[in-house]
Amino acid sequence: MDRATLAALRFESEDGSEVSLDRWHGGTVLLVFLRWLG
């Protein structure tokens, strides 16, 4: 995946704010994509 696509991804945090992945540059990040909140 190219960096522009990565940088364009946006998520909503639990406080409702918008976050992007570049916020965590400098560290290793594991994203666990869930199927459902069971």
């Binding site: 639990e14 594991l30 994203l31 459902w36």
Partner: protein, 130 residues
């Protein structure tokens, strides 16, 4: 994943759970469970699609292994259908290195298919040299 929390913390890995479910569902889940990681919402599933984490059709999902998985979940009191979850959405894991590059993507092939923690830790160790 929860059992591996110490291993992940020792490696300095920041873990985020990603869901497409509604904000209210996330709040309910947070109150009910003690998940130690922040939950990020991706309601349009743009990131799911970007990483190739698929939504499959019924014939790909409803196999004996999957049915057994849901039976076990139900026996533990977890009923996916009762929370209006999308049972056809698959999960996955994405590892980003310090530079922000994608080190590893695991795409589940069916609902019960997830990588073991040993696999995840090995990928993290390899990624640290990124």
């Amino acid at each position: 994943m929860r059992e591996a929390e110490a291993e992940l913390a020792a490696r300095g890995v920041q873990v985020f759970a990603v869901t497409f479910e509604a904000a209210g569902r996330v709040r309910d889940y947070r109150q009910r469970e003690t998940i130690p990681y922040p939950i990020l919402r991706d309601p349009a599933r743009a990131a799911y699609r970007a990483f190739g984490i698929e939504r499959r059709g019924a014939t790909s999902i409803w196999r004996p292994r999957t049915i057994w998985y849901y039976v076990k979940s139900a026996l533990r009191g977890r009923f996916a259908g009762s929370v209006k979850a999308d049972l056809y959405q698959l999960g996955g894991d994405v590892l980003l290195g310090p530079s922000g590059a994608v080190c590893w993507v695991y795409r589940s092939r069916e609902p019960a298919d997830r990588p073991g923690i040993e696999t995840i830790l090995k990928e993290i160790d390899d990624c640290r040299d990124d």
